[in-house]
């Protein structure tokens, strides 16, 4: 067991599409554990902590990936007790108790409610919980980091360093270039060891997707090394020399370029002009000034919002998508994401915009589900603020006109006085651009309403001091859309589209973050 034999060290974990590179130790462990689970099994997760790597079987029940509570109890030293009288299940850590109720997609963690994508289910004598129970409820009860990386089937525990790594090999004439993107930036060394190169990272493990080589005579292949937290590049017969350079990335990611040169009679050719900006491997391109994004899960608490025929509530859908979107944005773009609510509670419309303003958010995305008296109505819509009903004051603000106010010592000074409730007036153009980006991304993944972009005097948008849109994700009153909105697949599609739209907005030319041009406009630079 070379990986686990070294205390505190975990070797490379490779996931799809390079599953054939899985270390034998891990494969053996997977085989043992997957044979133990009953019924339809999903690929197990691997729980990584500083001192161990342990498999955690997963099962798909009703289209939902689930962990057995007994497995979690063994791994995390939990006490699970079923209270048949009260009809609940309590999961106790040393300090906290989580209460689960059959039939309810909610967990109470020390009295605080968190939502789960599905209720706990019993199969025989065993109870199963959705895998999101772990990061949402268990992490809080244990007071530790539990990061679930679904694509790579990893569950990271505590302060373990497992950078994500993705690679690409290009043939560039007499050389082959391997680009490794790593997030976050991790110190590393590249050294030659016989007919291979070893890239070693200062990490506890690697979460890697490695490429196949189109130029085997220069690079035969890239695989996990026997050495911990390292990858090996097997060199081809034409290999003569190599060079390496680091390209600093943004958003906590970096690129390592390793160029393998062929033995030719010619003098080493200069590197041909490489594609200037290849597409990002980890989708971690520079964030262009987006640091903080506020996601507003519409409605909440007694204010349920719209309701579907089967009882699906808008407030639950918005919260579920908001949470998924937060994880996706944080993981893929490395931005700070704040939710206006992370539980089923009432939050005032003013408070929502104020939260974004006080955190100097760069974007405000309000998530809603639509409703119609007509069940046939369907499709997503994107709204940004209309100033028509806010009178001349809003127009004046939108024009960026300042106001001369008297100052101490006589005279006057041109300063900007904006009523808080008019803050959005200065961002109408950017909000329109954001709305177009969101609409464009949504269109490729979910059904759209015939009027997909609209302007309206929406209360939650008017006070936002940053580009802001309200997304109606679909009609909860349409029976088919109600099912879609409640499904993982549809919610994940929405999240993917919204992440894409943030990337598209970020990458707009001409500085999308610039406020409406205004002379002597102090607020546009404030704190940015």
């Amino acid at each position: 067991m070379p990986g686990s034999a070294q205390a505190g060290i975990i070797d490379v974990l490779i996931h799809v599409p390079a599953a054939r590179f899985l270390p034998t130790t891990l494969l053996a462990a997977l085989a043992v554990f997957s044979s133990g689970a009953q019924g339809p099994t999903a690929a197990p997760y691997t729980v990584l902590s500083r001192d161990a790597r342990r498999p955690l079987p997963a099962r798909v029940i009703n289209g939902q990936e689930m962990f057995a509570l007994d497995d979690l109890a063994k791994l995390f030293d939990l006490a699970v007790r079923e209270d048949t009288a009260a009809g609940g299940i309590t999961v106790s850590t040393k300090t906290q108790t989580i209460v689960l109720s059959p039939g309810q997609g909610l967990a109470s963690v020390g009295g605080r409610l968190v939502s789960l994508p599905a209720p706990p289910l019993r199969d025989g004598r065993a109870w199963f919980v959705p895998i999101d129970f772990v990061p949402r409820a268990l992490a809080e009860a244990l007071g530790t980091r539990l990061e679930l990386r679904k694509p790579s089937r990893l569950l990271l525990m505590g302060d373990i360093r497992v950078p994500r790594l993705a690679g690409r090999i290009e043939a560039l004439g007499a050389l082959a270039r391997l680009t490794l993107e790593v997030a976050p930036v991790t110190p590393h060394t590249v050294s030659q060891d016989g007919n291979r190169l070893i890239v070693r990272f200062e990490a506890d493990g690697l979460d890697a997707t490695l490429p196949t080589s189109p130029v085997p005579d220069l690079i035969q292949g890239v695989r996990p090394s026997e050495q911990p937290s390292a990858i090996a590049i097997d060199l081809g017969t034409k290999f003569a020399s190599f060079r390496t350079s680091d390209v600093p990335g943004d958003r906590g990611a970096g690129r390592i370029l390793i160029e393998v040169l062929a033995a030719t009679t010619d003098t080493p050719t200069p590197t041909p002009a490489a594609p200037l900006e290849p597409p990002p491997l980890l989708d971690l391109a520079p964030a262009g000034g987006l640091r903080t994004i506020v996601i507003d899960a519409g409605h909440g608490g007694p204010e349920e919002g719209a309701k579907g025929h089967d009882g699906t509530l808008e407030k639950d859908i918005t919260l579920s998508v908001a949470r998924r979107l937060k994880s996706a944005l944080e993981a893929r773009l490395g931005v700070r994401v704040i939710l206006t609510r992370d539980r089923d509670e009432a939050v005032g419309l003013d408070e929502r915009a104020a939260l974004a303003n006080n955190n100097k958010a760069d974007l405000f995305l309000s998530l809603h589900a639509n409703a119609s008296v007509r069940p046939a109505a369907a499709g997503a819509e994107v709204f940004y603020l209309s100033l028509d009903d806010y009178g001349d004051e809003a127009q004046r603000v939108a024009q960026g006109e300042g106001e001369a106010l008297p100052v101490f010592g006589g005279g006057s000074r041109e300063i900007e006085v904006i009523l808080w409730e008019m803050a959005q007036a200065r961002y109408i153009e950017q909000s329109a651009a954001l709305a177009r980006a969101v609409e464009g991304s949504l269109r490729s993944r979910v059904p759209m309403s015939p009027r997909a972009i609209q302007q309206a005097p929406f209360r939650v948008l008017v006070g936002a001091n940053m580009p802001a849109v309200l997304v109606e994700m679909g009609f909860i009153t349409n029976p088919e859309q109600e099912k879609q909105l409640a499904s993982d697949t549809f919610q994940n599609n929405l999240v993917q589209a919204l992440v894409d739209s943030v990337v598209a907005f970020r990458d707009l030319p001409g500085g999308n973050r610039t406020a409406v041009p205004a002379a002597g406009n102090p607020r546009s630079n404030e704190g940015r």
Binding site: G305, L349, A371, S372, A377, D388, D389, P457
Partner: protein, 195 residues
């Protein structure tokens, strides 16, 4: 002297009060109810007198308002006419269209200020029986706003109240803290009338 001065002040005060009662108070008192009665009496011979107004309903696909020409009882002065129009707007929608306003909603009162702003006070059902959708909320609001502003040029903006109070929104989306102006973009173009 001081008694005479006090008497003079008292007389002046009585005169002012009497004058106010005569020229302001009584007309106002009678202006609301008896005036309406007299209007009804005046209209009695022409009880069937109607005007044609454009009212707004939700289209069959649920995605737009549709303007429909309908006959509405005549009313005078303009606040009376506004009331008749809104009562007609709140009534059942002509098939196959749907009402944009929750069906049990009633008009509690309607008054105009001197600036062309109408204040429309709806019963609580406008909120509690609403579908809760942002689009439906826009339709509810702009059916009312457009029914008044399109048919009565004297009304330029409409503020919607619920149970006599200002509200932030009807269903959590549309800002109702300000009077809203006519907006025909929610009305499907081919059906747009009376604009």
């Amino acid at each position: 002297m001081s008694r005479r001065a006090a008497a003079a002040v008292a007389i002046a005060a009585i005169a002012i009060a009497a004058g106010w009662l005569l020229f302001v108070g009584l007309p106002r008192w009678y202006g609301s109810r008896p005036l309406a009665e007299s209007a009804a009496a005046r209209n009695a011979p022409a009880a069937e007198r109607k005007i044609t107004a454009t009212l707004y309903y939700i289209s069959e696909d649920g995605l737009a308002l549709v303007g429909v020409q309908r006959e509405v009882p005549f009313g005078e002065p303009v606040d009376q006419q506004a009331q008749r129009i809104l009562e007609a707007q709140l009534a059942r929608a002509p098939a196959p269209l749907s009402s944009a306003i929750p069906e049990t909603t009633t008009l509690k009162s309607l008054f105009l200020d001197g600036n062309g702003h109408a204040f429309v006070d709806l019963s609580a059902d406008a909120r509690v029986r609403h579908t809760g959708g942002a689009l439906d909320e826009l339709f509810t609001i702009y059916a009312i706003v457009n029914a008044l502003t399109v048919n009565l040029p004297a009304i330029t903006r409409v503020q919607i109240l619920v149970d006599g109070k200002e509200v932030d929104t009807l269903a959590g989306h549309v800002d109702l803290r300000h009077p809203l102006q006519k907006n025909l973009k929610w009305v499907r173009a081919e059906d747009k009338e009376g604009s």
